[in-house]
């Protein structure tokens, strides 16, 4: 596909590839690969209220304001004041454009009753009016809305048909990029009077259908001669910037900035679970869980933290009224009212059932562009599923996330899941769009329900894989320590009783230990007692022995003394005793 600007600038490729004029309608230029065929008529067909007129107006207003291509609007149905009024509701100031000579409006009004056909006629009157209008503003674009109205006003359809054909040829010859709108009242025909056969270059069908009481608008490029184009039906919405077409996911460019900055989740320990710093700024977070798991509470923490940092927050409440949310989270100790008063927090509450899915996208886009928040909470996205199919919700969310990411807005989406269904399967479609997925669930153990939280995924960060119990206290949400025992994660009373059992077992061990210690002491005492006894015995023995030693020593001394006395008394025969030797012993025995 050739880019239209390149086509315009390079004259060489001009002949081989079709020239296209950008419509400025968001999404359509992507589908058609550069807009409508330049200098040729395009048929825009659709039922009543499908947005044909707005399509045409958007094409002209953008042509005039963005691409320097003035335009002419020939209205066959609406009066000019009505047209200006309707356009104003979409943010187009037609009167100013008319004043600036960028736009020329003409209302062709004829009443059937005025007419009588009295012979041949042609539409030169209309030709002249158009030619004059084109000349006045130097128009490059023209919209005829809805030319088929002439069939109800002028007699002789045969003449009219050939005149309309002549008109289209004439417009083509003048090189005007033309949008012709046509009413489609039957599904098998594009236009009521079959004028599509004169417009062979490009045909776009707009559709406004009601399914299950919900309206959705769709656009399809039926035909684009000489060019490839998106074949599908694309939902589109009408907002204050005119029509924008919701593109399929595949056409969205994935080139968002990926900031490294982190922002707090508002729950300290949850930050801890998210690698210690919380979410990445500009990321999208899915918070899913069954009813009553505390999704809104987690979201409220996140909002509260953002407001504390002085950031602007936008809270899309699809289920509860803002007052209800504020009141409910006050019960867990979060007061959002001051932030609302300070203008940091804004609630947008709407039940998505009131508009179609694209209305929701429109509301979100609009409010975000006006308020410019850095943090957005959508609570819950599940309510969108009530009004649309999963596929549509997914494409809408993709668009929304894409939009938020390009703005660098961190978004938290809550999602209600059915208690019994398999969570991952149900939301896999949506969750793949999210950077972080936090799962809240209730664990039923021992006749009570307790809340548990875990981080299922979180792209680009080291996150905890633990399942953590949390309590909703009146001081906010409190994450508890995880109990990781042999019996798995335990919560609530089960955790308490398990901890009790743990404690008891510990006490027992303690007692055993102390018992052993006492035994050791006892043994030591016994040992010491024995030691004392032994020493005592030893001392007794020693005493006895010492005594006997002492006695015998004494005896020896006495003996020596005796011998000396004897020697002295037996002076004469001393020699004789000395010779016998044994004489003293004999004496002692006596």
């Amino acid at each position: 596909m050739t880019q239209p600007k390149k086509v315009r600038s390079s004259s060489k490729s001009l002949k081989e590839s079709l020239k296209k004029s950008l419509t400025g309608i968001h999404g359509l230029d992507e589908i058609t690969g550069g807009g409508l065929p330049t200098g040729r008529p395009t048929l825009v067909s659709g039922g009543a209220g499908s947005g044909k007129t707005l399509f045409g107006l958007g094409f002209l207003v953008r042509g005039a304001t963005q691409y320097n291509e003035p335009g002419v609007f020939i209205s066959f149905e609406e009066t000019l004041p009505d047209l200006s009024k309707n356009a104003a509701s979409l943010g187009f100031d037609l009167d100013q454009l008319v004043k600036d000579k960028l736009l020329f409006l003409d209302h062709v009004h004829i009443t059937r009753s005025e007419f009588a056909e009295t012979g041949e006629y042609d539409l030169d009157g209309l030709f002249i009016r158009i030619a004059d209008a084109v000349q006045q503003v130097g128009a490059k674009r023209i919209v005829l809305d809805t030319i088929e109205a002439l069939f109800g006003q002028l007699p002789n359809p045969t003449i009219l048909r050939s005149e309309i054909r002549r008109l289209f040829d004439w417009l083509k010859a003048k090189g005007l990029t033309t949008v012709i709108t046509a009413e489609r009242d039957r599904p098998d025909k594009l236009t009521r009077h079959g004028i599509e056969e004169f417009v062979s270059d490009c045909v776009i069908v707009l559709d406004h259908r009601i399914r299950e009481e919900i309206s959705t608008r769709r656009l399809r490029v039926v035909k684009y001669r000489g060019s490839t184009h998106g074949q599908n039906e694309y939902p589109f919405l009408i907002d204050d910037k005119g029509i924008s077409v919701l593109l399929p996911i595949s056409t969205l460019r994935l080139n968002h900035a990926a900031p490294d900055a982190r922002i707090s989740t508002g729950i300290e320990r949850l930050d801890g679970m998210m690698g210690g710093h919380g979410f990445y700024r500009g990321s999208s977070i899915l918070l899913s869980g069954t009813a009553g798991t505390g999704k809104t509470s987690v979201a409220a923490h996140f909002v509260d933290a953002a407001c504390r940092r002085g950031e602007r927050c936008m809270f899309f409440a699809f289920e509860e009224s803002p007052l209800q949310v504020v009141r409910n989270v006050r019960s867990i100790g979060i007061d959002l009212q001051p932030w609302i008063d300070k203008g940091l927090l804004r609630f947008v509450a709407a039940r998505p059932t009131h508009g179609g899915i694209e209305d929701v996208l429109l509301v979100t886009h609009k409010s975000i562009s006006v308020f410019k928040p850095t943090v957005v909470v959508v609570d819950p996205i599940t309510n969108l599923l009530m009004v649309s199919t999963l596929h549509e919700v997914r494409s809408m969310l993709t668009r929304l996330i894409d939009f938020l990411k390009t703005q660098g807005i961190t978004a938290m989406f809550t999602s209600l899941t059915a208690p019994k269904s398999s969570l991952e399967a149900n939301e896999a479609d949506v969750s793949s769009l999210m950077d972080t997925w936090i799962l809240l669930k209730t664990v039923e153990v021992g006749g009570e329900r307790n809340r548990a939280l875990y981080v299922l995924k979180s792209r680009g960060m080291d996150h905890s894989n633990q399942i953590r119990e949390f309590l909703l206290t009146n001081e906010g949400l409190r994450l508890l320590d995880v109990y990781l025992g042999s019996e798995g994660v335990l919560t609530g009373a089960a955790r308490v009783s398990q901890e009790g059992r743990e404690k008891a077992a510990g006490t027992l061990r303690q007692q055993q230990l102390e018992g052993r210690r006492r035994e050791l002491d006892r043994k030591r005492q016994i040992f010491e007692a024995r030691m004392t006894m032994l020493r005592a015995e030893f001392e007794v023995d020693e005493e006895i022995i010492q005594q006997s030693i002492a006695e015998s020593t004494l005896l020896d001394e006495e003996l020596l003394q005796d011998r000396g006395q004897m020697r002295r008394s037996r002076e004469a025969d001393a020699t004789a005793y000395k010779q016998q030797g044994r004489a003293p012993a004999a004496r002692k025995r006596r």
């Binding site: 007419f115 009588a116 012979g119 041949e120 042609d122 539409l123 030169d124 006003q153």
Partner: protein, 114 residues
Amino acid sequence: MMAAKKTSSPRSRLPKKPVMQTPEKWELRLYVAGQTQKSLRAFANLNVLCEKHLQGRYRIEVIDLLEHPHLARGAQIVAVPTLVVNLPEPVRKIIGDLSDTERVLVGLALQQVG
């Protein structure tokens, strides 16, 4: 060139047949786009018709839209030729080259249908 033309006739010959009682003035304006076959034919037919039925009580103004394109917008002209009957009220428009005399007369309310 078909400039604005004023035709007056002697007052003595009043038509007897037409239902019109009041001798009011007829102001007719014929819008054409250049001198095409159709416009010339329409002008000729109109002249014949007026002479026959509205003698002396009519005024025909021919407007060439090629020269005054903005007049087409003001008078809400789409098809040409268009004959606009400004007077007597109500304003009526008759399109075509006025070759179907019967219908023109019905359109001018100069003759009952049928």
